[in-house]
Amino acid sequence: MHCDEVQEELARDSITPGLAAAVHKHLDECAACRRVQLLYSRIDKTLKQNSVWEPPEEFVETVVRRAAPALQGIPEPPRIVTWDVVYGTVLALLLIAVMYFGIRVAAASMAANAVVVAWVSAALSLFVSFWVTRRALR
């Protein structure tokens, strides 16, 4: 491996599986790359050692006091079931009913292949409707 490749691996979060042996072999022989490895480890160490913020004693009280007006005026959560969803559901049920009776009529008057095609089309339509509705609800 070349120094550039090794140093690129060292900058990654973890060495690419399968390259570890080659990287370590190179490091054993290359002082410049060992120096870069040391630099990256010092960078990681310095980043990790930065302190955690400690909230002042009165922080919670202050926030809750300031938030009180907002808390009193919290609006009702948005309703999940809306009229759009109800209309959509009714429409979907009507479509399914129409398809069902249509296929029964087709079965009585058409060839077997045509009935299979009708059933497959109906299944596909249902799947697409289900998928579109699910996306819309998200």
Binding site: D13, L39, P55, E61, A67, A70, I74, P78
Partner: protein, 186 residues
Amino acid sequence: MERDERDLVKRCLEGDQRACSQLVETYARMVGTVIWRATGDQNAVDDLAQETFLRVFRALAYFDARARLSTWIYTIAHRIAIDHLRKSGRWREESLDEDEDALMPRTASPNPEAIVAGKEIDQLVRDGLARIPEKYRIPLVYAAIDGLDYPTIAAMLGMPVGTIKTLIFRGKRMLKEQIGEAFNAL
């Protein structure tokens, strides 16, 4: 969202002040740490953390129960920190599509001897960090916070996990370019 979180949110929405205090107590430390790491401005952390929780309470009714509460709160903290950086004129944005040369910091590296003479390696790293673009610095410093994993950082920054890993990798390489010479002279 876990059941405890769901219960906490419900109680806050009902106006239960103890639940609100519990929510602030649970997340204050991480919110402040995120803001501190992002802005580097310790004096502003208290105000910005308060602002974060005020926004959290105002938007709590619209919180998507399928998401994790912690990630949602840290995302708000991150946005407030970025707003602060923008307002103070410290935000430097660059495109990820730029070539490798353009990804290197535009400011000239300082004289290595001058740095090494007076500063420790930690200071060298901090100075280097202050010179790399925010786009790379922020994922780098967030990844160093205990308790923030890649998926959380990715959600906070609205990017895929793979992009976050790339930004961290490039950020580290920039940092090496910034301080490598001075470090080798030690």
